[in-house]
Symmetry: C2
Subunit: 280 residues, 2 copies
């Protein structure tokens, strides 16, 4: 119970019968010592990501890449995943993090996937999206910022887009850190009360909070429509943030392993180089 297995992490995968209200945001199944479990895979993840990066640097076009999409309500723990799962374990040189905010005028003038493309991972790289192209079927649906038929079109466009990425060797993991309304209230209160957290607070957060059930319905639809073998969604309990991070780390290790990479062969003769070194 101090390690979460790959199988246990898969219980959060969004399948055809997924119902968001079946996921208890406060649950921590499979783990009783979450602080230990969180670090169980550190060495392996470190090494796997370095190996991916090494393959990219060595020019292996088939190295593959990893894309982690984070999409959740305010204070659900997206930033903490980036900081603690990605930052503490991976080599920054192989990682690209991008936060997608409100589209700029130029971005809004293009198809919704246009602004995503420049941030996709190259071979050997990991990209992490803090919010993503799913904004265009979540907040845009809830706030009716696009006509229903356009929203409808986007689900299919996303599936096609992600299938194409997968065909080009990108392992895609999509995560909704799922917090309860009660936990969000506590988190927002901290942001309002503590000066060092003010910058994270926006009065609009309360407006979104008032539309909680509409957002949950939009997540339900978006995740069931776009959770595929190539790009599965995971709806992960996040009231206990370390638990959520542990699941994400486990999913990442599994994804990296499935790339099946070896260390790139050196482009040199070992004995010759040892001799040259000895004589240098």
């Amino acid at each position: 119970m101090s390690t979460l297995t790959f199988e246990e992490a898969q219980q959060f995968r969004v399948g055809p019968n997924f119902q968001i209200e079946d996921v208890d945001p406060a649950a921590t199944p499979g783990v009783n010592d979450v602080d230990t479990a969180f670090h169980a895979f550190d060495q392996e993840l470190d090494s796997l990501q370095e190996c991916l990066y090494a393959n990219g640097r060595a020019g292996n076009e088939k190295a593959g890449s990893v894309l982690l999409v984070l999409q959740g309500m305010d204070t659900s723990g997206k930033g903490g995943i980036i900081r603690h799962v990605i930052g503490e374990t991976m080599d920054l040189q192989g990682v690209h993090v991008h936060a997608f905010g409100r589209p700029t005028e130029e971005e809004a003038a293009h198809d919704f996937l246009w602004r995503i493309t420049p941030h996709l991972p190259q071979p050997g790289q990991v990209s992490v999206f803090d919010r993503s192209h799913y904004e265009d079927v979540l907040v845009q649906r809830v706030r009716q910022m696009a006509p229903p038929e356009e929203i409808e079109r986007r689900y299919g466009a996303i599936v096609d887009f992600e299938n194409e990425l997968a065909a080009n060797g990108t392992k895609i993991i999509k995560v909704m850190p799922h917090i309860s309304r009660a936990a969000q209230e506590k988190n927002l209160r901290k942001r309002i009360e503590r000066p060092e957290k003010h910058w994270k607070y926006n009065p609009g957060d309360i407006d979104d909070r008032r539309l909680w059930s509409e957002f949950m319905a939009a997540y339900q639809i978006a995740m069931t429509r776009t959770s595929t073998d190539n790009a599965p969604w995971y709806c992960i309990p996040s009231d206990n943030k370390t638990y959520c991070r542990t699941v994400v780390k486990t999913l990442l290790v599994d994804a990296f392993r499935s790339l099946n990479l070896d260390w790139p062969a050196g482009d040199f003769d070992k004995d010759v180089e040892l001799e040259r070194l000895a004589n240098s």
Copy 2:
């Protein structure tokens, strides 16, 4: 002796009388428990960098920024500084790391500072350079890749360039992790012998190693010519990598502190928002 003070870190600053051969790469002055010292400032650095990032996000044009330049011989520990000092403590969303390799044809066709500019930090951001514009006065000098009068011109151009950055609010710290020739031999041997390190090895590394004293002379000149109040150089013993990282972390904390930032004020009325939250 389990914390390195700001004053102790300053002993490595390159001043007008600096002689590179006076720096013992194996020394670890001021610290006897280096693993403890390395973590002494973690909480503060985390908080200071978040505060800088928060100011940037809040649109504070005077937030300032930080630029860490890393320039050293092969295996001197540049990558480890990025991984352990930057990655483990800072929020990736506020950090930009760029490795400068051999210039592309397009880059080589421009002035040597042209390729640097896009990677400079914006207000609120930290940029880390793994190698830098100093390549153009180090390897280019040693290997005579540019005429002497052009190399000569570059020292002045760099000082002007960095003064301009500083005038725009960028705190600049330039670090040469200084390893001994003997320590490099051990490190290179590992890279040749261990399959998981092959990707870091290039036979050209031995060619550079054979020019060790020429490189040291080039570092000596470059650092003394360009170490200014606005952009000081630090030549830091790096045979003990954790010691070197501890000094770099200490210098960073000092730099962040000198930005004198407060948490950005919230753009909202606290009581109103607490009321709205309670009613949401």
